[in-house]
């Protein structure tokens, strides 16, 4: 462990996951601004339940649940991520320079998660707030049962996009393999276009020529015998 002003380096090679998490929590409590995590070696659970402000820089690939169950944390992951990066983030910011596996930003509650590459299946599943930006394509069941929040997908989206979503909005810049049940396509307003552009510019992600906007159609909000064909697919 080496201390450089307000930035501290943790070399994962010589530490256990538990000691790494405990050190990060301790540094955050003591107002250290930044921790550089060297050699993450795709280990799971690096950066779990950090609830004081701190910036984490992962110099490499991470495994499952990186920066999960966190609040007020910002992070840059310079490699790729395993499943569920940013799971249940309350507030803060996570930027993934590479790709993210399945379930990125699952159950996101606040803050912003940015995946500059591709994302796997179930991206933004059960989102309860916040913003998820995916620079590339995303997989099956993205936005499934989304409850709140905003998702911007610059590439193509897989099947069952936004299936059973309660609320929230999904913007897709590429092709949609199949819309999920209980969704509809709406026009994107000029105000929304401006907001998307400014977000993508900020994170240096190429802006697609146009977007489709996906929102819930409300047909699944109440058991209704008139909507049997829709319900048949769901329950």
């Amino acid at each position: 462990m080496e201390s450089v002003k307000e930035s501290i380096v943790i070399d994962c090679k010589s530490e256990t996951v538990t000691s790494i998490n405990q050190m990060i929590r301790e540094f955050a409590k003591n107002n250290i601004k930044e921790v550089i995590i060297e050699n993450p070696l795709a280990r799971h659970n690096l950066g779990v339940c950090i609830t004081d402000p701190i910036h984490l820089i992962y110099n490499g690939d991470v495994g499952y649940y990186a920066v999960s169950l966190c609040d007020k944390v910002t992070a840059t992951i310079k490699g790729n991520c395993g499943w569920a990066v940013g799971e249940n983030l309350m507030s803060g910011e996570i930027v993934v320079n590479g790709n993210a596996a399945s379930s990125c930003a699952a159950s996101l509650r606040g803050g912003i998660v940015v995946v500059k590459g591709e994302a796997g299946a179930r991206a933004g599943i059960s989102m309860k707030g916040g913003t998820l930006i995916i620079g590339g394509n995303t997989g099956y069941m993205t936005g499934f049962m989304m409850q709140k929040g905003k998702m911007i997908i610059c590439g193509d989206a897989g099947k069952a996009l936004g299936d059973s979503m309660y609320d929230g909005v999904i913007y897709v810049g590429g092709k949609i393999a199949e819309l999920g049940n209980g969704t509809k396509v709406e026009e994107v307003s000029e105000e929304e276009k401006d907001e998307i552009k400014s977000l993508l510019d900020f994170y240096q992600i190429e802006l697609p020529p146009s977007f489709q906007k996906i929102v819930p159609n409300g047909l699944l909000h109440h058991f209704n015998k008139k909507e049997f064909r829709v319900w048949k697919e769901i329950l």
Binding site: V17, T18, N21, Q22, H44, N45, V48, C49, T51, G63, Y64, Y65, S68, L69, C70, D71, W83, A84, E87, N88, M90, S103, A106, S107, R109, R122, I125, S126, K128, G129, F144, M145, Q147, K148, S164, Y166, D167, L220, H221, H222, F223, K225, F228, W231, I234, L235
Partner: protein, 452 residues
């Protein structure tokens, strides 16, 4: 003239006719609360204890101690869950029941030295305030989940499925999704809520192992972690759950309760609690983890006999939900006109899903909620828990055991062939052994008869 007597049919029973005609009206499956109403399930009533006689000495009920304490996670986590009696109040969400009910259950559990459980929908502040020991459920929906509440928990229960409806997610109809419930769950108020049946961030047992480690990291290895599974493929599920490395596995039998589920599922999915406990205990035994991993059994446990028999068959603790609601006041014959308005009567009500609970438990309506006095209700639940503890001690003492946890299958006999076959507990009588006269028949000689 021929007499045409009124005869009811088994095939087209009045219940089936009513069901068909209701479905013809509503255009979907029926949804209701409570639990399965099947009358033909094997149950703990089919077992009896074989108390001490000359071959074993009973304990004096008035003088000799009979220990009931159970500790979950001892030697494994920093803060094991200590239960003064092997009973836990099962998960019932804020949403399914209201804050008054949560408060009453919390007060009663705290007085009895046992735990309550959040259920789906997050940790309500009232519940945390009044429950000294609170199990925090982590469900597929992740409603209300946050790192701060996670750190406040005394145990974490990862719910895979529920006994009343294994293989599906939760349901909470719009009448009960009040502003407060909606806020806690991040849902639009008044929406018919369906929860997912799979967790959003793991899929199989290997991933679950990583998830458990994540929760360990989040809780700093302080509190025990359970995995709860609705009873279905119990033997394999329990082995997989135990291997993940949790302190306890919860198995919820098909008699388990619900605030709202498809009725067809209540009656036709899962396996009965009595069979689930045997499969679960056998699974832990077969992988050498029977002592290491605690087994918590729920689903229709209603008295000390059920609880003691479950423990004798291999459980360490029983989970009780519906019975606690009944102790609160559920089904009590008060406000009878409101039962009638729902088309039901006290003792047969299953209208938790409507949000119009006549006794103010399974409702978010402030006027109905006012019908439940949390202080008086807490006393009833406390009395009930204490009665179950005493009943369990009766069986343990009479079988010569100084600890309830020492009850074992040899203390039991089956009353029915089915139960004997399911549990492996011998039938009453000789339990399969041939009687001394088995070799004799009508053709036996007088000389042979004299020998016996």
């Amino acid at each position: 003239m021929e007499r045409n007597l009124i005869r009811k049919s088994k095939v087209w029973s009045p219940e089936k006719i009513e069901e068909i005609q209701e479905k013809a009206q509503i255009g979907r499956y029926r949804i209701r609360g409570q639990a399965t109403k099947r009358m033909d399930l094997p149950s703990f009533d089919d077992l009896v204890f074989t108390p001490a006689g000359l071959s074993r000495v009973p304990l004096e009920g008035y003088r000799e101690r009979c220990d009931t304490k159970v500790v979950i996670g001892e030697g494994k986590v920093k803060r094991p869950l200590v239960l003064e009696t092997p009973i836990m109040i099962a998960g019932m969400s804020f949403g399914a029941i209201n804050a008054h009910s949560k408060k009453a259950l919390g007060i009663a559990a705290t007085r009895c030295g046992i735990s309550t459980c959040t259920g789906d929908g997050g940790m309500h502040p009232i519940e945390r305030e009044y429950s000294e020991k609170l199990v925090y459920q982590l469900l597929p929906s992740r409603y209300g989940l946050n790192p701060y509440d996670l750190k406040k928990a005394d145990a974490v229960e990862i719910v895979v499925s529920q006994g009343a409806k294994p293989g599906t997610g939760g349901t909470l109809l719009g009448h009960k999704v009040s502003e407060e419930v909606a806020k806690m769950r991040d849902l639009p108020a008044g929406v018919d809520q369906r929860s997912p049946c799979r967790h959003p961030d793991w899929m199989g047992p290997d991933d679950l192992g990583v998830k458990v480690e994540q929760i360990r990291e989040a809780t700093d290895y302080e509190v025990p972690i359970f995995i709860k599974i609705g009873a279905g493929r119990v033997y394999d599920d329990v082995k997989l759950a135990a291997k993940v490395g949790v302190e306890a596995v919860v198995i919820d039998g098909m008699e388990g309760g619900t605030a709202a589920s498809p009725e067809i599922q209540l009656d036709h999915t899962g396996i009965p609690t009595i069979s689930a406990v045997v499969e679960a205990a056998q699974a832990l035994y077969d992988i050498g983890m029977k002592r290491e991993v605690k087994l918590i059994i729920g689903g229709g446990i209603s008295n000390g006999a059920d609880a003691a028999k479950a423990i004798a068959l291999g459980a360490d603790v029983v989970y009780m939900g519906s019975a606690m609601l009944i102790a609160l006041n559920c089904q009590r014959p008060i406000y009878i006109e409101d039962y009638h308005a729902l088309g039901t009567e006290p003792g047969a009500c299953h209208h938790c899903h409507t949000g119009k609970c006549p006794v103010g438990i399974a409702t978010q309506d402030p006027e109905l909620m006012a019908r439940l006095d949390p202080t008086a209700a807490a006393e009833r639940v406390e009395n009930y828990i204490n009665s179950i503890t005493m009943e369990m001690q009766i069986f343990a003492r009479s079988c010569g055991k100084s600890r309830v946890s020492d009850l074992d299958p040899t203390d039991l006999r089956s009353l029915t062939l089915v139960t004997s076959y399911i549990t492996g507990v011998p039938l009453v009588g000789l339990g399969g052994k041939k009687p001394y006269f088995a070799s004799l028949d009508h053709g036996s000689s007088f000389k042979d008869l004299l020998k016996v």
